[in-house]
């Protein structure tokens, strides 16, 4: 997901091997979350903050830790 204020992405992909003998059609790309907490290290002081009323909705005060999750398979199907 490209909602990162830095250079990391919060969703990664991989492919699974699909044999001609596998009965189901391949699901294709698989996804997994790599949220911002994996990269931040010890949070530095004085980072940008959300407005308090926004922070209460988003679940964090810190844009750098915010990761909106969407079903990646759903997105693909549309």
């Amino acid at each position: 997901m490209e909602n990162s204020p830095n250079t990391y992405t919060w969703m990664k992909t991989y492919q699974t091997y699909h044999s001609v003998y596998d009965p189901c059609p391949p699901l294709g790309t698989r996804y997994y979350s790599t949220p911002p907490n994996l990269y931040l290290g010890f949070q530095p002081p004085n980072l940008e903050q959300f407005q308090p009323n926004k922070a209460l909705k988003k679940g964090t005060l810190w844009p750098i830790l915010y990761d909106y999750y969407e079903n990646p398979y759903e997105k693909k199907r549309r």
């Binding site: 949220p35 911002p36 949070q43 679940g59 964090t60 990761d67 969407e70």
Partner: protein
Amino acid sequence: MWKYEKKLQYPVKVSTCNPTLAKYLIEQYGGADGELAAALRYLNQRYTIPDKVVGLLTDIGTEEFAHLEMIATMIYKLTKDATPEQLKEAGIDAHYVNHDKALFYHNAAGAPFTATYIQAKGDPIADLYEDIAAEEKARATYQWIIDLSDDPDLNDSLRFLREREVVHSQRFREAVEILKEERDRKKIF
């Protein structure tokens, strides 16, 4: 000691009559990586962790009970008006036979909550790593439930809970950094 605020940490709204979602949500109620397990794990570990991070475990452990309350509200709202027939269709007929509409601490497969879900090793690093893993597992569970749910209002609350797991994991990682710090040695750069 605790003070109780008679409101949810985040509003819970359910917009579709879909008791099947309750079947999934019960995983976060009484499952291995659920909110009850999280609250009990952290609040119990507090006593034997270095002073510097006791407050963090108290804060997060307390918040997990607020999450438990949100999950309970979701499950209640999804099931309270369902007929036995609808519960049967949703696959929670076995629950109904045993508990009627009462909530119970078990996972999505009906296995009752057990203390073996949680650990307290007494080793601060081992315990904090368990906590980090628990947060990532809870985050993943919320993702899988969001993937299965097409209720936009419910997903809104679930996204809030997932984000809190991200923040909790971050804080536990920082706690490890605090305990790793070589404060007795002079740093030379």
